[in-house]
């Protein structure tokens, strides 16, 4: 395989990287003296166009390639996930158009795109080394994005915490991966699984497994590897937080599921109640249970909406781990659907938070009071996002939860081994209504404090949020739009 062919296989990633360079070049060369808002709009349009180009390429050139022994694998599933990732990036760029936190427009957008490229590589990797490198590319961009609001000390603090925690988690993970290599002599996931088959569980493998889980657990913010998340979400610029919570989450969950289901196939064990067997599923079951418990309960007492969304993200990671636990074809479909719809709703919610922040200067619950009078469209969109996160039919979040729980229930059949986790998940979903409704109560019920006049809400952002809300409603009413292609994509090759 020569380089030209390789570039064709990696064309979407190449397009995104080139777009990043283009955005930088345009912004740094010709727009130095222009108003920030205009620069943001021009740069944002270029970036969105690049992502759209990537989507178009993926839609037109559907290929199934395994380049360089698992380093870069293209198949219908990765294609769908990449399209989702590019879509999420576009939405993140669009809600950033009115952002005022930085003058370094080009750098901000370029980093977003580079992170996206990293995620795309991550999604198509089936080799431990490549996975680690892609993970680091993504993470490094995200650290800087977190620190991007240089005028705010909390942003720097958040980034430092995120970075230190991330570095440590990556070290553990690399350690774990090296142990795996030591045990199996392979880095390709299928080869790893083949080498592990029949060997049984030795303690070294257990340590390696736990360390690998830690690395991914950090990326998806599962308890107890979640500690960075509330601080990072709260301190980071809201748009960066939206991106970390959406695109990064989708990509991480996808690769997490892939590594566990392919690489550790055969050492699943069982997390069934009173039927416990050593393997990776009991570890994930513990993480899932802890995430759902802690995320939901701590979210109740938050007064900062960004922190609240962070804890809600932790809780959702717990739900999604349920899907990974089920480890079959349906589980992959349900996890991707859930992660994608969750990401959409989260981007939207963060978008609304950024509007409120621009207006009032804070993301406290009290700043949301009377928001429906100030920006009725955005308030409506917020309602859709939060209700979707809470899982109310007919929004996308409901069907996501429904599929996920159904898959988890079925995987334990006929003894219904995962029932204990399901009961916990359903009870905790009920708890989550409380804090989502708390935000909505502030938006819709509480009267606006009669204070100084508010800055006006940008109409363009409101329209984008409304579009997001419509996407969520449509995906909820016609889940087959996403589930159908996924089912189809997974049918020929069943892992």
């Amino acid at each position: 395989m020569n380089y030209l062919e390789l570039l064709t296989v990696a064309a979407p990633e190449t397009i995104v990287v080139l777009t990043a360079l283009a955005v930088l070049a345009v912004d740094l060369t010709s727009m130095r003296d222009v108003e920030t808002r205009i620069r943001m709009i021009v740069g944002g349009l270029v970036a969105s166009a690049g992502c759209a180009g990537g989507i178009l390429w993926l839609l037109v050139n559907a290929t199934t390639v395994d380049a360089l022994n698992g380093m870069l694998v293209m198949n219908p599933v990765t294609q769908i996930v990449k399209i989702c990732l590019l879509g999420l990036t576009i939405f993140t760029v669009l809600i950033s158009l009115e952002a005022k936190f930085t003058n370094h427009v080009g750098e901000f957008l370029a980093l977003l795109l580079l992170a996206t490229a990293g995620m795309m590589f991550l999604v198509s990797a089936e080799d431990l080394l490549m996975i680690f490198i892609a993970l680091e590319v993504t993470s490094l961009s995200l650290y800087i994005l977190t620190a991007f609001n240089k005028r705010n000390i909390k942003s720097a603090e958040a980034a430092l915490k995120y970075f230190l925690f991330g570095g440590m988690a990556a070290a553990f993970m690399l350690f774990g991966l090296s142990l795996i290599y030591g045990l199996t002599g392979a880095t390709n996931l299928h080869a790893v699984a083949a080498a592990l088959a029949g060997k049984g569980l030795d303690p070294l493998l257990l340590v390696a497994m736990v360390m690998t889980v830690m690395g991914f657990g950090f990326k998806v913010a599962a308890v107890p590897f979640h500690l960075w998340a509330p601080d990072a979400y709260e301190g980071a610029p809201t748009q960066s937080a939206a991106f970390i919570a959406s695109g990064s989450k989708l990509a991480s969950f996808f690769i997490f599921a892939k590594v566990m289901m392919i690489g550790f196939a055969g050492v699943e064990g069982s997390g069934a109640f009173r039927d416990f067997m050593v393997g990776w599923t009991p570890v994930l079951a513990v993480l899932a249970a802890l995430s759902m418990l802690l995320g939901n309960l701590v979210a109740i007492v938050q007064s900062s909406v960004k922190r609240l969304l962070a804890y809600s993200a932790i809780a959702h990671a717990g739900y999604m781990l349920l899907g990974v636990l089920a480890h079959d074809k349906q589980a992959v479909v349900s996890v991707i659907y859930y992660a994608a719809t969750y990401a959409l709703a989260t981007i939207g919610a963060f978008g609304v938070v950024s509007l409120v922040e621009e207006q009032t200067g804070s993301d406290r619950l009290s700043s949301f009071a009377g928001f429906c009078k100030r920006a009725p469209m955005a308030a409506f969109a917020m309602m859709i996002f939060l209700l979707s996160l809470a899982g109310i039919p007919p929004l996308a979040g409901f069907f996501g939860k429904f599929y996920l729980f159904a898959v988890a229930l079925k995987s334990g059949a006929p003894q219904l081994g995962l029932l204990w986790l399901l009961i916990l998940a359903i009870a905790m979903s009920a708890v989550s209504f409380y804090y989502y409704l708390k935000v909505l109560k502030a938006v819709y019920v509480q009267p606006e404090p009669a204070e100084q006049s508010r800055a006006s809400v940008p109409q363009a952002t409101q329209v984008i949020l409304l579009v997001l809300a419509v996407v969520i409603i449509v995906l909820g009413c016609f889940p087959n739009l996403l589930v159908g292609p996924l089912e189809h994509a997974l049918t020929p090759v069943s892992h």
């Binding site: 490094l140 650290y143 800087i144 620190a147 240089k150 000390i153 720097a156 603090e157 980034a159 430092l160 915490k161 970075f163 230190l164 925690f165 570095g167 440590m168 988690a169 990556a170 070290a171 553990f172 690399l174 350690f175 049984g200 569980l201 030795d202 303690p203 257990l206 340590v207 497994m209 736990v210 360390m211 889980v213 830690m214 950090f218 107890p224 590897f225 500690l227 960075w228 509330p230 601080d231 416990f276 067997m277 050593v278 009991p282 570890v283 513990v286 802690l294 309960l297 701590v298 109740i300 007492v301 074809k329 349906q330 159904a406 708890v431 889940p479 087959n480 589930v483 159908g484 089912e487």
Partner: protein, 805 residues
């Protein structure tokens, strides 16, 4: 293969739905726009229906297949079984109903423009009306019982909204609730039937190339199974579905809501509670007729057994309602209530028709009834409009002189309803029903009840005509007309009835023409309608047919004659005179007038019990369950606070002392409100230890169960590596395992300690020197720190790993 119209049949309900959505968004003053939208969409739907009708006409024939279009709506599990399909069907039944609903609907929409002209919520009215039309058309085209049920419920909702349209009147609000709740009782059974049907057949599609629930495979499976009391499953499901129809079509004993529903605006009564919605029950039975009809093939010898139990139930309920509602109608004084009871009664006829004669017989009466009953209701509305919202027929009289157009059209409707021989559609459709009932093999009683009902129909309609249109106007008794001052003359002008505007009378005339014209298509001589709808083959005018025609003609004459005798000759002078029927023996009139006390009976039994149960539930809810919920919520809150306390004070503060050394180095840390990053990293290390120990403990506990770990322990490879070298002399293999676990734990703790130390060094040094400057004034040099951390953590890892080995 599928033609355009079959594929796009959904456009017909979609048009009014769109109109409803749009006019819901219109502000109140946009009256014209909303009326235009509604009427335009309805006319569009009518044109499409005509296209569909023509298509069905071309396609009809004895061996034509059902045309349908199905699509996957929701995938809830993998494979074909997990697909929920919806769809629509175009067959003669659909086509006929479509044309009827859209045509009558359009006329009533136009009529409403005049009737509602003075109402301030004009736009809301048309929104609801369009919503209703959309839902009704949805019922008609549905090829899936679930889709039908959804539309069915939407129709119920629209009916509720429209009955309670004047919600400021307490009686209207109560009537709306009554209608909704009463029909809901039927709907519960309907839903049970749907669920059972799905359980039996695995599909809710009516027709699906042989896989539908109304097709041969499913039916023959269901009819062979028997359930409680030897009832075939198909019949049991049919009866459950029929209970839904009882609720919607105002059949005994769930008829109580229909007369009360007359509190709604009159166009609503005409459209929903006469022509379309109440007929939906009949349509439902007609749609699922194969389910009702099917019997075991082996029992052909016994004549009674060839009629399925479900159809017998349909017939009996219909016959009872037909007679019983007619007796009540005799003694009512409200012009709309008379018509309402008459509707119940006529729906009963349709049920008899379905039960004894088949789809075509029942549906023919449904169609003709829709036209003449809509005509009668709109005529009544015109009368009410003209008499300044007076509905008591005792206070009317002589109106034919004031409102000639209304009078003539009303007379046509009355003739059709009473069954004036030969020229009116109502006669032929009722005749077909009586004929079918006469030749029913099970019993003759439904036939006699039907004949008695027909007689009563002629009688009460004559009574109504006489009281409303003949005699002298009794509406202005209160002011003395003797003193003719100018003011009183003006007042008289105001209180005299007046003819309604053109927009109301033209639809009346059109409907009257149809009422007469429809009689041409269903006579025994040329039963085109029956042929179109199914396999019904009439034998023309036989002796039997003529006999029935004679009987119903006689019954009509008898009823009209008695009516004229009682009310035509003896003219009523004042509104408060007693009714001549009050002289009937046994207090029968009181029974009729009080509707047999069924409302009171329900009040005393069902409603009182329900209120008692509601109070009991409220008590339970407030004190028992409420208490539990409150406790749970407090416990949850307590947990949340505990969690937060642990997160903030124990986890974050508990390690304070350990961090003091580091905090000396960094003034940054003092600025952190909460969440020290060192603690985070420590938790990371702790988690590793706990999780690994968790797994090893789990493995150890199942060692006896021949697990992999046990093999590992026995494996000499580990001994060779010297993992448990110190202990080999004094440990059995079991002990040595535990010992090795302990060693592993110590090794891991070692790793963690190193990592912690490394993190501390990293934090302290980094904060002291580079990071603070790098992060705060200008960010972006994080890369340097990254390398630093890596170097240390990797070194630490290597160190720990070395220790284990």
């Amino acid at each position: 293969m599928e033609s355009w119209i079959v594929k796009n049949l959904w456009l017909i309900p979609a048009l009014p739905l769109l109109a409803a959505g749009l006019s819901a968004l219109l502000p109140r003053p946009f009256r014209k726009a909303s009326a235009t939208l509604a009427i335009g969409s309805m006319s569009g739907a009518f044109l499409l229906s005509v296209v569909a009708f023509v298509h069905a006409l071309k396609n009809s024939g004895p061996d034509s297949a059902k045309e349908f279009f199905n699509f996957a709506w929701l995938q809830f599990a993998s494979g074909d079984v997990g697909v929920l399909k919806l769809g629509w069907v175009l067959d003669p039944l659909t086509a006929v109903m479509l044309v009827m609903v859209t045509f009558v609907g359009t006329l009533i929409f136009i009529y409403s423009v005049g009737y509602m002209a003075h109402d301030e919520n004009f736009t809301r009215f048309f929104t609801f009306l369009s919503l209703f039309a959309a839902a009704m058309l949805g019922i008609v085209i549905a090829n899936n019982l679930l889709l039908l049920f959804m539309s069915w419920e939407l129709v119920g909702l629209a009916s509720y909204l429209l009955i309670g349209f004047w919600y400021h009147k307490p009686s209207a609000a109560a009537a709306a609730k009554k209608a909704f709740i009463t029909t809901r009782i039927g709907d519960v059974f309907f839903l049970l039937g749907i669920v059972w049907l799905y359980h039996e057949t695995g599909t809710l599609l009516f027709y699906d190339n042989g896989n539908g629930c109304l097709e041969q495979t499913a039916l023959s499976k269901m009819v062979t199974h028997a359930t409680v009391g030897g009832l075939a499953v198909s019949a049991a499901i049919g009866i459950l579905i029929f209970i839904g129809a009882i609720g919607k079509s105002g059949q005994f004993p769930l008829h109580v809501w229909l007369p009360d529903a007359m509190e709604g605006p009159t166009p609503v009564s005409a459209l929903i509670h006469a022509a379309t919605m109440v007929a939906a029950g009949v349509f439902l039975v007609a749609r699922t007729y194969p389910l009702f009809e099917v019997t075991l093939p082996g029992l052909a010898g016994d004549s009674a057994a060839t009629v399925s139990t479900a159809l017998q139930v349909v017939t009996w309920i219909g016959a009872i309602t037909a007679f019983f509602a007619a007796t009540i109608a005799v003694a009512q004084n409200d012009i709309k209530r008379i018509l309402a009871y008459s509707t119940c009664s006529q729906l009963g006829y349709m049920m008899i028709g379905l039960g004894t004669g088949g789809v075509a017989v029942g549906m023919f009466h449904l169609i003709t009834h829709a036209f003449f009953k809509a005509l009668l209701f709109m005529g009544a509305g015109s009368v009410i409009h003209g008499c300044h919202d007076e509905q008591d027929i005792r206070k009317m009289g002589g109106i034919r002189n004031y409102m000639p157009a209304t009078f003539l059209t009303y007379a046509v409707g009355m003739m059709a309803l009473s069954g004036f021989p030969l020229f009116f559609s109502g006669f032929w459709s009722k005749d077909a029903i009586l004929h079918a009932a006469h030749s029913w093999s099970v019993s003759h009683i439904p036939f006699y009840l039907g004949v008695a009902g027909a007689f009563l129909t002629a009688f009460y309609m004559t009574r109504q005509m006489a009281l409303v249109f003949w005699g002298k106007y009794r509406g202005h008794e209160r002011p003395a007309v003797a003193t003719k001052t100018p003011q009183l003359l003006a007042l008289k002008e105001e209180i005299e009835p007046h003819e309604s505007p053109r927009v109301m009378t033209v639809p009346l005339i059109l409907l009257a023409i149809c009422t007469v014209g429809l009689s041409l298509i269903g006579t025994p001589a040329w039963p085109w309608f029956q042929d179109f709808l199914g396999s019904h083959h009439s034998e023309g005018f036989t002796k039997d047919t003529v006999q029935i025609i004679m009987i119903s003609g006689l019954v009509f004459l008898l009823g009209v004659g008695l009516g004229v005798g009682f009310y035509g000759y003896v003219k009523r002078k004042t509104a408060s005179e007693p009714d001549p029927l009050e002289r009937l023996p046994l207090g029968m009139h009181t029974w009729f007038a009080k509707k047999y006390g069924i409302d009171e009976l329900y009040e005393l039994t069902v409603i009182r019990f329900n209120a008692w149960a509601a109070r009991a539930c409220a008590f339970l809810d407030e004190w028992v369950w409420g208490g539990v919920v409150a406790i749970v919520s407090y416990v949850t809150l307590a947990f949340a606070w505990l969690n937060r306390a642990i997160d903030e004070f124990v986890i974050n503060l508990g390690f304070d002392r350990g961090c003091e050394r580091v905090s000396r180095g960094g003034s940054l840390l003092s600025r952190l409100q909460e969440g020290r990053v060192q603690v985070y990293l420590r938790v990371l290390g702790g988690a590793l230890v706990v999780l690994v120990l968790f797994l090893i403990w789990g493995g150890a506990s199942e060692r006896d169960a021949d697990s992999n770990i046990a093999h590992v322990v026995a494996d000499s490879r580990w001994h060779r590596r010297g993992w448990i070298s110190e202990s080999t002399t004094r440990a059995t293999s079991c002990d040595s395992f535990q010992f090795s676990v302990a060693r592993a734990g110590v090794g891991i703790m070692e790793i963690v300690r190193c990592i912690q130390r490394c993190a501390a060094i990293c934090g302290a040094r980094g904060l002291d020197s580079g990071v603070r400057r790098a992060v705060f004034p200008r960010s972006g040099r994080a890369g340097a720190v990254d390398g630093f951390a890596y170097e240390h953590s990797c070194a630490a890892g290597a160190f720990g790993f070395g220790k284990i080995i």
